[in-house]
Symmetry: C2
C-alpha cells in the first residue's frame, strides 16, 4: 500500500467505457497508469498525462487499485490470471475493481483466487451507457466485502453518480442482470407498441407523446422510440453486448430456478439480429425484429 493520500490507479481496458473512466479518474487527480489489449485510444490518454503500461502485470505492480473494464468473463480472466496478468504483479493488500459485466459466478471465482494472494476484489458493473461514462453519471452496482467496498468508493465516486453496495462479491453482477432483463422487456414492448401504431395507421410520434404522461412511461419510450420509428440505430448500447448480458441473466436464472420468458424471447430475437449482421446496432434495433415480422422495412 502506498502512503499517498490518493491511491495510484491502474485502468485495464480502454474501450468506450474504460477510456472514459480513465479520463474522469485523471481529472479527479488520481495518479494513473493504463493498459489496453490493442493501442486503441492510448494516444488520447497519454495527452491527458496518463502513463501507458506494457502489460497488466507491469500496471498492477505500480498500482494500489486496479480497475478492470473489459467485455466478458473470459476477458476478465485473461487480464487477471493470464500470462503477464494483474495477479502476477499486484501486491498483497491491493484491490481489484471489476467494472465489466460478467457472470457473478466468475466474479466469485476470481475473488477467491485473488484472496489467496491477499488481493481484494469488488464487482462494480455500471449502467448509464457511454454518455454516463463520459459525464461520470453512471449508476454503479457493487458487490464485495464492506472494507473493500469502502476502499473502492472514492474511486467509484469519480466515475459515477450513484454507488449501491448490494451484498457480497457477485451481487453487483446479479443486480446488473436484473437491469438487463427489465431493459429487454421494455425495449421490445415499445417496439411492439410502435409497430402496432404504424400498422393501425396512427401517427406514432403523436401516440408516443400522448402516452408519455401515463403508466406506459419509461426511459426507453422517451429516449429510444425515435430511433425505432426512424429505423436507424446508432450507439447507444450494442445488441451483441446486451445478448451477452442476457446470457448471464439466463444462466443465473437456470442456476437459481427463476423462469424468465421475455428475457429468453428477447435473447432469441437478438441472436437473430446478430446472425443477420445487426449485432453492432444499438439495442433499440429490437424494433427491426418486430418490423421485419410485421412486413415493415427492417
Amino acid at each position: 500500500m502506498s502512503e499517498r493520500t490518493q491511491p495510484r490507479i491502474g485502468v485495464v481496458g480502454l474501450g468506450t467505457m474504460g477510456g472514459a473512466m480513465a479520463a474522469n479518474l485523471a481529472k479527479a487527480g488520481f495518479p494513473l497508469t493504463a493498459w489496453n489489449r490493442t493501442p486503441g485510444r492510448s494516444h488520447e490518454l497519454e495527452a491527458l498525462g496518463i502513463d501507458i503500461a506494457a502489460t497488466p502485470r507491469a500496471l498492477a505492480s505500480t498500482a494500489d487499485i486496479v480497475l478492470v473494464c473489459v467485455s466478458d468473463t473470459p476477458d476478465v480472466e485473461a487480464v487477471l490470471f493470464g500470462p503477464e496478468g494483474v495477479a502476477e504483479g499486484a501486491a498483497p493488500g491491493s484491490l481489484v475493481i471489476d467494472c465489466s459485466t460478467i457472470d457473478p459466478a466468475g466474479s466469485r471465482r476470481f475473488a477467491a483466487r485473488l484472496a489467496e494472494k491477499g488481493i481484494g476484489f469488488v464487482d462494480a458493473p455500471v449502467t448509464g451507457g457511454s454518455e454516463g461514462a463520459r459525464n461520470a453519471t453512471l449508476a454503479i452496482l457493487v458487490g464485495g466485502a464492506p472494507a473493500d467496498v469502502e476502499r473502492a468508493r472514492p474511486v467509484l465516486a469519480a466515475i459515477g453518480r450513484t454507488i449501491t453496495h448490494l451484498g457480497p462479491v457477485g451481487s453487483g453482477q446479479a443486480a446488473k442482470a436484473v437491469n438487463q432483463v427489465i431493459l429487454a422487456a421494455t425495449y421490445l414492448g415499445v417496439a411492439e407498441g410502435l409497430v402496432l401504431a404504424l400498422k393501425a395507421g396512427l401517427d406514432p410520434q403523436q401516440v408516443v407523446e400522448a402516452l408519455s404522461g401515463g403508466a406506459a412511461q419509461s426511459w426507453v419510450l422517451a429516449n429510444r422510440s425515435g430511433r425505432m420509428l426512424a429505423n436507424e440505430y446508432p450507439l447507444g448500447f450494442k445488441v451483441a453486448l446486451h445478448l451477452k448480458d442476457l446470457g448471464i441473466a439466463l444462466d443465473i436464472a437456470r442456476e437459481s430456478g427463476a423462469v424468465l420468458p421475455i428475457a429468453a424471447l428477447v435473447a432469441q430475437l437478438e441472436a437473430g439480429l446478430v446472425a443477420t449482421g445487426h449485432g453492432d446496432d444499438d439495442m433499440s434495433a429490437l424494433a427491426r425484429a418486430i418490423r421485419g415480422l410485421s412486413g415493415l422495412e427492417a
Copy 2:
C-alpha cells in the same frame, strides 16, 4: 340542440371511471343526467345534484352530449342500440362520446349507425386509472371528425388533463391498444427482473432504487414493484380488463398484420390468472405468474 352555453350532458355507466367522470362534470358546472345498469353509486351522485334517468333513451332525450363509459364492445352496443337505448332518444345534432375501451372496428360501426340519424360520435378512451379519473388527470385518446372532437373538447377538459386527437373514429381506440401492449411488456419485464433479484438473493427493494435512475426506469418500476414484492395486488387496474384490452390489440394486430409476441405471451399468462381466480387483482399480479413458475409464493 340546446341554446344553453353549457351543453346538457348525459353520463351512461357509473362504475369506478364513469362515476368519477360524472362527479367531475358536475363540479365543472355542466347540467347533468346519469344512468347505470345497476343502481351502483347512483345515491352518491344524487347527493351531488345529478339527476338519475330511468333508461339510456330517457337520458339521451334530454342531453346535448351523451358520454358513455362501460366495459366492452357489446356493452356499448347495448346502451346505444338496445331497447330503450341512446339511439332511440338522442336528437339529430347531438353527440356521443365513448370513453369505454373497445374494438376500434366497433367504434367505426357505431359511428356509422349513429350518423344515419344525424348523431355525431367520437371515441375517447382514457389512460390514468381510477386515480386519474378521480383527480381529472386522465390522458384522453380521441378519434373522430374534427368538428365533433371540438364539440367534445370542453367536456373532456373537465375529466382529463391531456386530450390528443389522433385521427378519424377508431384512432383513439387504436392508440389505447398501443398503450396496453407497452404496459403488458413493462409489467412482465419488471416482474421477471424482481423474481430474478429474489432468486439471486438480492434485496429487491435496494435493486429497484439502484436501477430507477437509469435506462430501466419506468412508471411501472416506480409505482408497481412494491406490490409485486409484497405479492399483494390491490386495484389499480384489473387483470381481466387488461386481458380484454390485449384481446382488442391482438385483433387489430391480426387484421393489420402486426406481430406482437410479448402481447400474446402476456395475454396467455393473464388468461391463466383469470382462470385461477385472480382476474380481479391489479394487473401487477402478472408477478404471480412469474413467481409461481419460479417456485416462489404466488
